[in-house]
């Protein structure tokens, strides 16, 4: 039983990322989309937080959003396309989008 959380807002202006981490349990996944991928900006505070997450909380980011923002996926994040996004939602029991 696990949840895939979807984030879309910048961690620098919005609480959704911080609140999401409070709900993230073992086995839960996190998919960064839109401005939420700014959390992967190297040397940033959110980057440090995400890189320290336990390995049983897999991290994903939408490849097109990384590309648009000129951010490279670090080794602890798997960049995915839309076909993989669809299949990813089926690997979890439920999907929770932070609006």
């Amino acid at each position: 039983m696990a949840t895939l959380h979807l984030l879309s807002r910048s961690p620098f202006v919005d609480l959704s990322g911080a609140s999401c981490l409070r709900l993230l349990g073992a086995g839960d996944g996190l998919l960064l989309t839109g401005d939420a991928v700014y959390a992967l900006q190297a040397d940033s505070r959110p980057f440090a937080v995400l890189s320290a997450l336990p390995a049983d909380r897999p991290l994903f980011a939408l490849a097109e959003d990384l590309e648009a923002r000129g951010i490279a996926a670090p080794d602890f994040v798997q960049a995915i396309d839309y076909a993989e996004f669809v299949e990813l939602t089926l690997r979890f029991e439920r999907v929770n989008s932070w609006l």
């Binding site: 807002r9 839109g34 939420a36 996004f85 669809v86 999907v95 932070w98």
Partner: protein, 130 residues
């Protein structure tokens, strides 16, 4: 597998485009979309009065074409739509408004349609935010 999709953000929000790309990928992957439900500000995607600049993505048109081509069930929450000035002919007449901006393939209905789709589908995927 069966997907129910729900949208919450206005047409210009990146998440509304992301939802369309997800929907396309789901169908391309051999999955079924039991319903696309438009709630809160996303109801504006169903307005036929949006005018996009020629060199910009016309997301309301893209969603309309997608729903039509694949004969999907595109349901717009009636309460959220009325509140935001999105009306079909029947509602425009009911409330004495000068015109309407919602036509086929869109259908106005209640929140029960969101629940019904979520119950029927294997996954409910919501799109909102930025």
């Amino acid at each position: 597998m069966k997907f129910a999709l729900a949208l919450f953000a206005p047409p210009h929000a990146p998440s509304s485009r992301r939802a369309l790309r997800f929907a396309e990928a789901a169908l391309a992957g051999g999955h079924e979309i039991v319903r696309v439900f438009f709630y809160q500000d996303s109801v504006q995607l169903a307005s036929s009065l949006t005018v996009s600049a020629q060199d910009e993505l016309d997301l309301p048109a893209a969603w309309r074409t997608f729903v039509q081509e694949h004969r999907l069930d595109g349901v717009v929450c009636i309460a959220a739509a009325l509140r935001r000035g999105v009306l079909n002919g029947e509602e425009a007449q009911r409330y004495g408004r000068a015109g309407h901006n919602l036509d086929a393939p869109w259908e106005l209905s209640g929140l029960g349609q969101l629940h019904e789709a979520a119950q029927e589908a294997d996954r409910l995927i919501c799109f909102g935010g930025d």
